[in-house]
């Protein structure tokens, strides 16, 4: 329908530059509040938890890249450079809110309380992996921590987050969903489907899009021509904000308001965090073939962790000595967990067929029996540890019969 007040006789096309979206920035590179800006309210306890978890993930990522290079893990993905975008946003939410993430947001899972051993159990696909050894490393999930299990498929979580949030609204318990994805995933059909259906159905969901410059090797200039992702939210009738993703205070303040809006107005909100993927896309990627070391160095100077540290030091909430001690502790804890959890057995073979359905149907049980009979003929070929016998690997399929 045409708004009568906006009828014009001037023939003019509207361009992106006519509707610029500015970037919220509160901290300068030295960790000082920008001139004219107001320091957002954040208590010491929360600030230190955010800072510690950002550091934890930095240490975890460094150590796990190392472990992958040593052949102890098959694959890994880091959050390096984007810790503030992830921890700053999730910290603004209630632990009862659902997190639906892409795959580079394990810092949010850490914030929720995932332990070093739990990280290792998943990365190593051992018998304590909550996902029962079914997914590649970094595909975490935790029912207890309201962190939806990750799938490799990009952007599928976006319409799902809308539906999850709609269910939360129906149950009337004042919770919402926070949904993460990258600027590359925003090219998928599910992004457009999800934002539109979330807007139309008035779902309390906060979309946090990490605009980190690259989708594997593809730079944003080859991903889209428009002004990033935030304006697309406006196009769908969703309140949108863009923030400096390396500025922990800006990310957190915007996320606090985003959650308030989502719950109070029952609306989706989009937060675009402008940052940079300092590491490779994954351990299978080599960024030197598509970007310069100068560019990387420029972003290294904007390290979100360093910036937050300076702010904390300035407030007298933290010291260099505490910093060293913390990093040493994390290193020790993570390497200890890696060592202990990699000694564990793989999950039992029953988990090959459990959970496809709530109860394995007859045809699947039959296929499983055939497989077990075959394995019995060639145990040395199949059993991960033949010396320990079948008990270390599979039990009779009694639970299914």
């Amino acid at each position: 329908m045409v708004d009568k007040n906006l009828v014009t006789s001037v023939l003019k096309f509207t361009e992106a530059k006519d509707m610029p979206i500015s970037t919220l920035s509160l901290l300068n590179a030295d960790g000082e509040i920008l001139e004219g800006a107001q320091e957002p309210k954040i208590d010491k306890h929360t600030a230190l938890k955010i800072y510690r978890d950002m550091n934890y993930i930095r240490v975890l990522d460094e150590r796990m890249i190392g472990a992958q290079r040593q052949g102890r893990l098959s694959f890994y993905v880091t959050c390096t450079g984007e810790e503030a975008s992830v921890v700053g946003s999730v910290a603004a939410f209630s632990s009862q809110d659902m997190v639906m993430s892409q795959y580079r947001e394990h810092a949010a899972l850490r914030y929720r309380g995932f332990t070093s051993k739990q990280f290792m159990n998943q990365l190593l696909s051992n018998d304590l992996d909550l996902g029962k050894g079914r997914q590649m490393p970094i595909h975490y999930g935790s029912r207890d921590l309201n962190y939806m299990t990750i799938s490799s498929t990009l952007a599928t979580q976006i319409p799902q987050a809308a539906g999850y949030a709609y269910g939360q609204k129906l149950s009337g318990n004042d919770t919402c969903t926070i949904c993460y994805f990258g600027e590359g995933a925003a090219s998928e059909g599910d992004f457009h489907a999800g934002l539109n259906i979330a807007a139309v159905s008035k779902c309390p969901v906060v979309f946090v899009v990490r605009n980190n410059g690259y989708a594997i090797s593809t730079p944003t200039v080859e991903q889209f021509v428009g002004d990033g992702i935030a304006p697309r939210g406006v196009g769908y009738g969703i309140p949108a904000i863009r923030v400096d993703g390396n500025d922990i205070l800006a990310v957190h303040a915007a996320s606090v308001e985003a959650r308030n809006l989502a719950i109070e107005k029952s609306t989706p909100v989009i937060v675009e965090t402008m940052s940079y993927r300092l590491g490779a896309h994954s351990t299978s990627d080599d960024p030197t073939s598509y970007r310069t070391s100068e560019e990387e160095e420029m972003w290294r100077q904007k390290d979100p962790i360093e910036r937050m540290k300076k702010w904390l030091l300035g407030k007298g909430w933290w010291s260099d000595q505490q910093d060293h001690q913390m990093k040493d502790e994390y290193k020790k804890e993570i390497l200890g967990a890696l060592k202990s959890q990699e000694k564990r057995q793989p999950p039992v073979l029953d988990h090959l067929i459990s959970d496809v359905y709530q109860i394995p149907p007859a045809h699947l049980r039959e296929q499983y029996s055939e497989l077990l009979a075959h394995i019995d003929k060639y145990p040395d070929h199949y059993l991960p540890n033949p010396t320990k016998g079948h008990d270390s690997y599979h039990k009779p399929a009694a639970q299914f019969s």
Partner: protein, 325 residues
């Protein structure tokens, strides 16, 4: 017991499910006040409100993705895809997401509350994009259940089971017989078990297996064959995934002959799966080759719909050929 048609039975099942459980939510294109293009959701919005029965934007991947999330949260989502021909934008959400939701999370999360209803099949002059039978694509996906009723009684009982089943279900509705197929359907709440085939008529010479609208062609062919002294056992599969191989194998062991018929194209169609399983199980009982009477390996045609469809005459000829092999 009131006599109602298959479409009314679907509506009755939705009404029953929504009345019995406030967590049941219906969504899809035009399903709100309008009641859906076939009127399957007629009066549901009026009765249960806009929050529990509502229109969505035109986005099949959005509808299914949204419904997966809704189900994962604890609601019971019943999504309508207006025509099965339009389910493909949602293929990724169904195959990579819904079907793997429980497995990939180690049973921490599931979307078992999800049911996708969609009208399928030809016979309505719908051409390429209002006629397809895409069931085989989904039968190739572990984690899904695929259900197709052929009568009004089945439609209500199977849909209620599908909605309450702990796993995601695709419920294909034979739109060609939405109104033509009528029967006695209880007002009450009842469920028919998934994964169980129905022996609709017993016979001794040959087994005919089908589902959905195709059952009418099988019945008619069986009647023609009876006049020629051939006794057909007719089986309605009802659920394609997981399908009731025991019932079919038992029948073929008795009759020694099997014809499977579906509207979908032959190559890669579900008849191939049934034929393979039955020859494994009943090899020594078979008196003639297992035969598939199906659509041709073409897109679904418009003016040649009659020629394309595996009608009762094609089935009748196949029965004779099998018996006289």
């Amino acid at each position: 017991m009131p006599k109602i048609n298959l479409l009314q039975a679907v509506n009755s099942a939705l009404d029953t499910a929504m009345d019995a459980d406030s967590r049941v939510v219906c969504l899809g294109e035009d399903i709100g006040e309008f009641g859906g293009v076939f009127r399957a959701t007629s009066k549901l919005q009026e009765k249960y409100g806009k929050q529990r029965c509502f229109n969505t934007p035109i986005t099949e991947q959005g509808i299914v993705g949204f419904s997966i999330g809704l189900a994962a949260q604890g609601s019971v989502a019943v999504a309508e895809i207006q025509f099965a021909d339009y389910i493909f934008p949602a293929f990724d959400q169904i195959v990579n997401e819904a079907a793997k939701f429980r497995y990939r999370s180690g049973d921490q999360f599931n979307c078992g509350g999800l049911t996708i209803r969609t009208p399928y099949g030809g016979g309505i002059a719908g051409g390429l994009y209002h006629s397809q039978s895409p069931e085989a694509y989904f039968c190739h996906t572990p984690g899904l259940k695929v259900v197709i009723p052929s009568t009004a009684y089945q439609a209500k009982g199977l849909l209620l089971s599908a909605i309450r089943d702990p796993d995601p279900v695709i419920f294909f509705e034979p739109k060609a017989i939405y109104r033509a197929e009528a029967g006695d359907v209880p007002d009450t709440d009842y469920e028919l078990p998934l994964g169980v085939a129905q022996v609709v008529s017993t016979g001794t010479d040959i087994t005919l297996v089908g589902w959905g609208a195709q059952m009418h062609q099988l019945h008619r062919a069986a009647k023609m064959a009876a006049k020629d002294g051939i006794s057909c056992e007719v089986i309605d599969l009802c659920t394609l995934l997981p399908w009731d191989a025991d019932t079919v194998a038992k029948s073929v062991t008795k009759t020694g002959r099997l014809i499977i018929s579906h509207e979908a194209p032959r190559t890669g169609g579900f008849a191939g799966e049934i034929a393979a399983t039955i020859q494994e199980r009943c090899f020594l009982s078979l008196e003639s080759p297992i035969t598939r009477i199906t659509g041709l390996d073409t897109p679904f045609p418009l003016v040649f719909e009659k020629e394309y469809l595996p009608d009762y005459l094609k089935v009748f000829e196949a029965i004779k050929a099998s018996v006289h092999f």
